[in-house]
């Protein structure tokens, strides 16, 4: 739902808005952290966003086999992907994002910072538009 709203505002404000994704797996979601690390493994071979979108579609099926299957669907080398996942190559990067979120007091997801302006929770297209328009006006 939120992902659809985001995709729509990115299309509408093409060239004026960019989106940065930060990992904030919550401790209670035991399968989330491997999923975040897997997305970064996909990113290392240039497939971050397709894998990111696939994870949101597949939510919450994030067992190891699922994560490897999604990599296979996207045409990634599944052996190399499995090694990346098993070695937890991007664990420290995910941890760094979590530390930054905690330092900012971000404890619920999703939380958005729109040019620094905090918007928390399931956000509609209209709410995004209002926040973006405000940010654009402040830039003038």
């Amino acid at each position: 739902m939120v992902q659809r709203s985001l995709a729509q505002v990115l299309r509408e404000y093409d060239g004026r808005v960019r989106l940065v994704f930060k990992d904030r797996p919550l401790a209670m979601h035991t399968l989330a952290r491997p999923a975040h690390e897997a997305a970064r493994c996909a990113g290392a071979v240039g497939k971050y966003w397709p894998y990111h979108d696939r994870l949101f579609e597949a939510q919450p099926r994030f067992r190891r086999g699922d994560l490897l299957a999604y990599a296979g669907e996207l045409g990634l080398d599944t052996d190399a992907f499995a090694r990346c996942l098993d070695e937890r190559r991007f664990a420290a990067d995910v941890e760094r994002d979590i530390d930054q979120a905690q330092a900012l007091g971000i404890n619920s997801t999703p939380t958005f910072l729109i040019n620094g302006q905090r918007v928390v929770g399931a956000t509609s297209v209209d709410e995004f538009r209002a926040a973006i328009d405000r940010a654009l006006q402040e830039r003038r």
């Binding site: 960019r18 989106l19 994704f21 399968l31 990113g43 930054q100 330092a103 958005f112 910072l113």
Partner: protein, 77 residues
């Protein structure tokens, strides 16, 4: 018996406050408010100064010169 003893201590406490000079009382209150205000004002400034958000270029969608940046902290699960 217990109730009576408590009541007696409470009255003693109130009368001690009443004996204090009003000027001393109000100036301490202002000092406390001032200190609280300083602590509250200092906290966000310190937070902004210390927290730097970094990101991987692979995790960015859209043009790098876009005037608006949405930073999404999210959980796949």
């Amino acid at each position: 018996m217990g109730t009576a003893a408590s009541y007696s201590r409470s009255v003693q406490g109130l009368s001690r406050c009443a004996d204090r000079s009003p000027r001393v009382y109000y100036s301490s209150m202002w000092l406390i408010f001032l200190l609280l205000a300083l602590v509250i004002a200092a906290r966000p400034a310190r937070a902004l100064a210390q927290i730097e958000i970094t990101w991987s270029p692979t995790m960015v969608r859209g043009h790098s010169t876009a005037p608006v940046t949405i930073v999404e902290f999210s959980d796949y699960q």
